[in-house]
């Protein structure tokens, strides 16, 4: 899906650049954990800042990478460095999803897939 360029909303320069919002869901154990901490995680509308990617949103919510098995962006499993846009829909999935859907939805990567290796310096792509 090609990157969409959003028209910039111009605010007074002291404020951060505001790029819109995303719809956020967490499932299974993650939902339970976030609910216990009163963090919105069921059809939650979260502010999105310019240049943020999935990992930035998860960091802000206090979700560690090892708590995640996969993330959906607009209904497809996507890497954590996926750049987000206004109106995107994201969902965080902890380990434990049953079904061959682990394979079929791309949650379980092929053992030959190099891109899954984590790097030390993390940058949004």
């Amino acid at each position: 899906m090609p990157c969409k360029r959003q028209p910039r909303k111009f605010f007074i320069w002291v404020f951060d650049n505001y790029m819109g919002s995303v719809l956020f869901n967490a499932f299974s154990f993650l939902q339970k954990k976030l609910k216990a901490q009163n963090i919105p995680c069921v059809n939650a509308v979260l502010d999105l800042k310019d240049g943020q990617c999935v990992k930035d949103i998860l960091d802000a919510l206090g979700i560690e990478p090892q708590e995640i098995e996969g993330v959906f962006v607009n209904g497809k499993i996507a890497p954590l460095d996926t750049l987000l846009h206004d109106g995107d829909r994201i969902a965080a999935l902890p380990p434990g999803t049953p079904g061959p859907y682990r394979l079929l939805l791309g949650l379980v990567s092929s053992p030959n897939n190099e891109s899954d290796k984590k790097s030390d310096t993390f940058k949004c792509k």
Partner: protein, 575 residues
């Protein structure tokens, strides 16, 4: 396991025989499919005396292997007209194994209308008149049978749906707690049992010894690793015990693959209200049981007891497929209504998938309003009464669609599609189209992708690789179905290359064989070949391996459509 127990339902006689050489090494689905191919004329009417009903434990059933107590039930399906294997938990598999019975075969059919039941013990096989139990629900049946024959005997029974030979009729099995929540659900095998006028089968292994193992020490060592594999994997060790299969509601909805309003879209706005997370919350609040196994020796424990608002038992074995079929498919958003519908299916003896899809078709046809859970409950209660609508619904989705003149009927080989839109998860769609079982989701499950050579990236929305994946999964699933292992062992095995070797090692230690992992693949392929041959003889052609045209339309949110050609699909069942 050394004997085949054949029961003639017309004469009420029985005999034990030594298995012939070509079936001596088989179990579970491998055995049922081979016997049906060998012994049932593929063109017979499935409700006639020529059909047979075969109950077979798996190769590992009766052993201490964790999660090995599943049962295969096979026959010619009255729903699809093809071969059928239905797989279930419960107590029958292990008890048959302990009695040394490799397969129990119901043959012929009575000439009169009287119902019987069969009680199998260590030293006897007896027939009892069962007319007093006609019309009794499966739940009450288990209570009566446990009172009469002993607590925790294994039971298999049919409800009114099977008694009336309706094509969505299931065979229900007592779970370890005595609830009727386990089912050989798909394909109408309950109608076959009803056509032979058998209301129930009781299996009592009292007085038997443990199943002998060729090398008990070796077996114990592997089983220890096997248990660790199952309990430490996040799916089998945490996800399934906590939320059951219902955890998939939110996930599949997120993926845009949750069929909503009879496969019109892939997302349901109320998915979160019928999710596994809400189910788990309700269970906790209402004093239910969050995690229990469907057979002794299960360490995954994905089943549960769901109570109603007054904290009374409502249903068990509350699965994702059921929640989908009576939920987003019908636009019903009340989880308690859906639980009642699940309970009714257990008691009436109906496949929840075909019945749920039929319910949505009843809404499509204007019989009851979309999303009306109470009306659905009222309609389902008509099954078994004199009301013709009850007969229609109880015959499943295809029959209901025809009776009501509906043009959107999501079936393959007349069996209703399960809970994943084929346009958003294309490999599952290939399985729906090409499986010998009709539209079936469990036929294409997963084992180690390395062994099966499935590599590369998987895009569920594109055609690439999905035929190969479906083919590999169908082979692997068939093999697991022969072992007596619960299909959910596939999740840890999919992620751990040693898992498949452990299964092979346990079979070798039990029987003194020297199988290797490649033999698993060969076994899976040979099962599929037997089934394909039966279906060919029954008159199936490649044109039966198609999804209905309604799936050529695009579905939101991904706006993909079903675009495989017959030639592409044919590769999935080419061996």
């Amino acid at each position: 396991m050394s004997k085949i127990l054949r029961i003639n339902t017309r004469e009420k006689t029985y005999s034990f025989e030594t298995p012939a050489e070509d079936i001596a090494g088989l179990g579970g689905r491998a055995l049922t499919s081979k016997m049906i191919l060998n012994e049932v004329p593929a063109t017979c009417h499935p409700l006639s005396k020529y059909n047979k009903l075969v109950f077979a434990p798996g190769l590992l059933s009766g052993s201490p292997a964790a999660n090995s107590g599943r049962l295969s039930v096979g026959g010619k399906s009255p729903l699809t007209g093809g071969i059928k294997e239905s797989n279930s938990g419960g107590l029958v598999s292990q008890k048959l194994a302990r009695l040394g019975i490799k397969a129990l075969v119901l043959e012929d059919k009575p000439e009169d209308d009287g119902f019987s039941m069969i009680v199998i013990k260590k030293d006897s096989v007896e027939f009892f008149a069962a007319d007093e139990y006609v019309g009794v629900s499966n739940g009450d049946m288990i209570t009566k049978l446990w009172e009469r024959f002993g607590k925790r005997v294994a039971t298999a029974s049919i409800g009114v749906a099977g008694e009336q030979r309706l094509t969505a009729a299931s065979i229900q099995f007592a779970d370890p707690k005595g609830h009727p929540g386990r089912a050989a659900g798909r394909g109408g095998l309950g109608a076959v049992m009803g056509s032979k006028k058998i209301k129930a089968i009781v299996v009592d292994d009292k007085g038997t010894d443990r199943v002998a193992l060729h090398d008990p020490e070796a077996f114990k060592a592997v089983n220890k690793k096997w248990v660790e594999l199952l309990t430490t994997h996040p799916v089998s060790g945490q996800g399934l015990p906590a939320f059951g299969t219902a955890v998939l509601v939110n996930v599949i909805n997120e993926a845009g693959a949750l069929p909503t309003k009879n496969f019109r879209t892939g997302r349901f706005e109320h998915a979160k209200d019928i999710s596994g997370e809400v189910m788990a919350e309700n269970i906790e609040k209402r004093g239910g049981v969050a995690s229990e196994g469907c057979h002794p020796g299960c360490v995954i424990k994905c089943s549960q007891i769901y109570n109603d608002k007054d904290n009374n038992y409502l249903t068990s074995g509350f699965e994702y497929e059921t929640i989908w079929a009576f939920g987003s498919h019908c636009l019903i958003k009340d989880l308690d209504d859906i639980a009642m519908l699940d309970r009714l299916c257990d008691d009436l003896g109906l496949d929840t998938i075909d019945t749920g899809v039929a319910m949505g078709i009843a809404m499509e046809g204007g019989v009851i309003p979309w999303g009306d859970g109470k009306a659905a409950i009222e309609l389902l209660n008509k099954v078994g009464t004199g009301d013709p609508m009850g007969k229609i619904i109880g015959n499943g989705a295809a029959f209901t669609g025809q009776a009501l003149g509906v043009d959107r009927v999501p079936v393959v080989k007349r069996q209703a599609l399960p809970a994943y839109d084929p346009r958003s998860v294309k490999a599952v769609g290939v399985t729906y189209a090409t499986s010998t079982m009709g539209a079936d989701h469990t036929a294409g499950y997963g084992v180690c992708q390395n062994i099966l050579g499935v590599g590369g990236s998987i895009d569920p929305l594109k055609k690439d690789n999905n035929v190969d994946i479906s083919k590999a999964l169908q082979i692997a699933t068939a093999a697991i179905d022969a072992s007596g292992l619960c299909l959910f062992v596939a999740f840890p095995v999919l992620d751990n290359p040693e898992g498949l070797q452990m299964i092979v090692d346990m079979i070798n230690a039990m029987y003194g064989l020297s199988l290797v992992v490649d033999d698993v693949t060969s076994l899976g392929i040979s099962i599929l070949k037997d089934e394909l041959e039966f279906n060919r003889l029954a008159g199936f052609t490649p044109k039966d391996d198609r999804l209905p045209d309604m799936f050529k339309e695009e579905v939101a949110p991904h706006n993909t459509s079903w675009d495989f050609t017959d030639e592409e699909l044919a590769q999935a069942v080419k061996f």
